[in-house]
């Protein structure tokens, strides 16, 4: 927090704002407007680009990229101004209440947004990245048949991301979270003619939906605990030092559910095997989703609810264990990957695991800085990967052979037998996929298929008159050469 405050205190925009001496009410109005703008810009673009496509009248490529780029730039600038305003006020959170969406009995679904030291820097970072990736993708996907589809999904993702980040209630956060999952799935399956892309998309979506149960249940528990999904009823104070307002029991339950939800989106073991396969999508989407934003969505939710984690030591221990195990697993498996994108996917997974550990240990600001720096580096690496491969091939051609690998590795410190075993474990991706397939997916699938077969047989029996059944049986016997 001090980092951001110090950074912004030096910014000319902040000095200018300080000179204006704006009242608290005016500040609230300005922040509200800016926050709505951050959300409305990508949402409006989603409609502007998506609706003509749905009516079979897609916009031209240049118009599409300009609209999308303009929306993200506008949201980015609005975020920067909000950041300056907040910094001038010591990052005191500003609640933006847009109204009650619907209300039944004691259940109020409010549309609340929050601008604070976590959400606004994150929005700046995410919209800035989206704007850059938009510029890259405009060239990269030129004349690609799914050009408009990509940008529709990118704006859907941007809208969902901003909704999730700015959410002031669990209901709004869940809505944004769902948009993230759907856009991510559709982009993994972007090249729909490839069977592997379809399988990867279904795998990712299945993982997301299973882990979404955690967020859904957490939302219900929060409603039960405080009668509303508003975060201001859950914790108060300035992030990252907010105080928890619910009982430790409720805090622990909700935190554990949030950890479960975060494990899916952030590809933590045993829900990690979708991530390397997610690289089937176009490079720009891989960069922004699995190198930068989507992979950190789980970590963001945990940071948002850090006050609950403070009151839930069990959940923090779980976070450290899960994150630590994932980091080691991914670091090991990543070392034997033979393609660049898979290697980068495991590198992302390693960092996401470390970020979980940081959050579990209570280093919230470190985790936030880690997320931002890792996301920027990783998205650059992924965007650069196609041309890096090209460069590598040119280098090899120039040298007349392989330039050689690093001669030393930490693995060489282990005995040779252990090295061989670790190599086998890494090649089999830690046996994680095999275990899930053999002990979970396989038996469930076989059971369901048997049930379906029984259903079909029952319907055939019920729907066929007895005389016809007897005739069919006789016919079959005759064919088999076994007369009655």
């Amino acid at each position: 927090m001090t980092f951001f405050a110090a950074f912004l205190a030096a910014a000319p925009l902040n000095r200018l704002f300080g000179l204006l001496d704006v009242s608290a009410a005016s500040t609230h109005a300005i922040v509200s407007l800016l926050v709505v703008l951050q959300l409305a810009a990508p949402a409006a673009t989603l409609v502007l680009v998506g609706l003509p496509a749905l009516l079979d009248r897609p916009l031209r490529e240049q118009t599409t990229t300009r609209l999308v780029g303009g929306a993200f730039t506008l949201a980015f600038l609005a975020g920067l101004v909000t950041l300056a305003v907040l910094a001038s006020r010591g990052f005191a959170p500003e609640q933006v209440h847009l109204g009650t969406w619907f209300s039944v009995g004691h259940h109020d679904a409010t549309v609340d947004l929050v601008a604070d030291g976590l959400s606004v820097p994150y929005v700046c970072f995410s919209t800035g990245l989206c704007a850059l990736v938009n510029a890259f993708a405009g060239k990269y996907l030129h004349r690609e048949p799914g050009f408009t589809r990509f940008f529709v999904l990118l704006t859907l993702f941007g809208t969902g991301m901003n909704l999730m980040v700015l959410a002031g209630s669990i209901d709004v956060l869940f809505a944004g979270w769902e948009f993230l999952g759907i856009s991510s799935t559709m982009l993994i399956g972007f090249f729909h003619e490839r069977t592997n892309a379809l399988k990867a998309a279904l795998r990712a979506f299945t993982t997301y939906r299973i882990c979404d149960v955690g967020l859904l249940a957490a939302g219900v528990m929060i409603h039960r605990a405080v009668g509303s999904g508003d975060f201001e009823r859950l914790f108060e104070g300035v992030w990252p030092n907010a105080d928890c307002l619910v009982s430790p029991g409720n805090a622990t339950l909700v935190s554990l559910l949030l950890v479960f939800a975060a494990m899916g989106k952030s590809a933590q073991v045993p829900f990690s095997n979708w991530l390397p396969r997610a690289m089937e999508g176009p490079t720009p989407s891989s960069a922004i989703f699995y190198g930068a934003l989507s992979i950190h969505a789980g970590a963001y939710v945990l940071l948002r609810c850090e006050a609950l984690l403070d009151a839930a030591p069990v959940a923090r221990v779980a976070l450290v264990l899960i994150g630590g195990f994932t980091a080691i697993h991914a670091a090991l498996v990543g070392r034997v990957q033979t393609d660049l994108k898979s290697m980068l996917a495991y590198a992302s997974m390693t960092q996401a695991g470390i970020i979980f550990v940081e959050i579990g240990l209570g280093f919230r600001v470190v985790a936030l800085v880690h997320i931002v720096s890792h996301a920027i580096l990783r998205s650059l690496q992924i965007l650069r990967s196609p041309s890096a491969l090209h460069d590598r091939h040119e280098l090899e051609a120039a040298l007349g052979g392989h330039p050689g690998a690093a001669s030393w590795s930490v693995v060489k410190l282990f005995p040779e037998k252990t090295q061989a075993w670790l190599y086998r474990v890494a090649l089999d991706r830690g046996f994680e996929e095999m275990a899930v397939a053999r002990f979970v997916v396989g038996p469930v699938r076989r059971l369901l298929e048997r049930l379906e077969e029984a259903e079909t047989a029952w319907i055939d029996w019920l729907g066929t008159p007895a005389a016809d059944r007897e005739r069919d049986r006789a016919g079959r016997r005759q064919q088999q050469g076994r007369p009655r």
Binding site: A53, L54, D56, W101, F102, S103, V104, G105, H106, H107, A109, D171, F174, A175, G176, E178, F179, I182, T185, M186, G189, H192, E193, T195, A197, L198, A201, L202, T206, R209, I210, D212, V213, L216, A217, G219, V220, H223, R224, A225, V226, E232, R233, E236, D243, L245, V246, S247, N250, R445, L448, L451, E452, E455, W458, I459, L462, G463, T464, P465
Partner: protein, 497 residues
Amino acid sequence: MTLDGHDIPLLAALTAAIVAPLAAALHIGRGGAPADPRQPAILSLVVALVASLTITRFWMSGPEVTLELGQRLGGGYLVHVDGLTAVLLPFVALVELAIVMVAPKRFLDGPATVRILLGAATRLALFATSHPLVLIVAWVATALPIWSSTRATPGGQIAARVYAIIMTMAVASMTVGTLMMIADPPWEAGGGAVGASGGWLVALAVLVRKGIVPFHSWYPALFRGAPMSTALAATVPQIASYTAVRLFFGHADHGDGVGAELIVLSQLALLTATYGAALALVQRDLRGLIGTLAMSQSALVLAGLAGKLPMELNGAFCTWISSGLALTGLGLVGWALESRAGPLSLETPQGRFADAPLLAAFFLLFGLSAIGLPGTLSFVADDLLVSGSLDEQLHAGLLVIAATVLSAIAVMRGWLMVFGGPSSVDGPRHHLLPRERIALTALFGTIVLLGLWPAPLVRELERAGSELLGVPVGGRGAAEHHPDQGTGPTSPSGDAS
């Protein structure tokens, strides 16, 4: 009984809604539109939709517009228009209109159109009565066109026979049960064992008619064997749910306003919702997928209807409408695609995206709308249903969550299998016809509109639910104790621990 001033326009609108499709059916049946029966059918259903919306507008205008006409026999009125009817009538009219607009030409000859219109008129009439004997007649009248249409379809004999067996069982159970309830009314003081047994027979009828486990198999069978229009008309309006509401709500012998029969039904419905969604995961063809999804979603409605909290009841009503509209859209998109490309398997990727991108987009949108896409009514419905179920019973909430998760995975698998895979171009790109585009856009637009601005619908459904339960609006559940409530920012020291 006398008619009040506001009853007459209400009755006129109701009459128009029912008579318009009947008149069109008569016109077409007499050979009035041999070339294109679609036009008069669309016109009549537009009239029915406008008339239904007029009734909704009347209901929303004030609390004193409930219309109850006819003798109160067996707990119901011959004509009964309240909040539930006011919401369901436009829903049914819109679904029927969309079916007629999208139906491929070869499925919409004169007799088929007459069957659709007669079925529509009967269903609209059914949703405006609470009289048990009329409900029985309406059950038969709605089932006959469905059976006849299925039987006339090549390869539909098995489905027709299954449907006939199931409906015979349901109607017989309903008739005997209702007569027993009328003979010995359980809702009156001193009601005896005969009436109570009748109630359980009616519950059995609802169980069978709604396709609840173990009587569920006719749902996917009908979707596989009948024209899509028939399968949708048979399942989407949820006649059995309506019957359950009319016959099991507001009885004096149930302290919480919900019949014990409904509570038992709801437990079986929870299992059905999860089981149907699980079966949807391993379907081998698109029709089977839509059938099992319809079975699951329909069961979710019944599961929520037994809720003692307005939230859960409201969630059930919202699911009724949202899943109905979404599944209609999904079914119609599937039908449009089938009419262009033949039967669609889910065993291998069919590669249909390249030649039908708009159908792919609509399939995805309707599919996601059925499983809780934010911004659609199903998101609101899921929120209310899950919250209400978990508030009331943990296992109910967990089963509802499991059903929604499994349905979502099944829908995504369906989309990827139908539209993904190497392109199988077998002719020119399949554009949507204007009538198809209008119908699908209107359906999806309704789902989105109600999802983005759900407050009026939710408020009216809460009012209708409170009236059915016999409690004031927001009365039950509003004053529930929350362990940590009141520990807001102004009272940080109030930690409930």
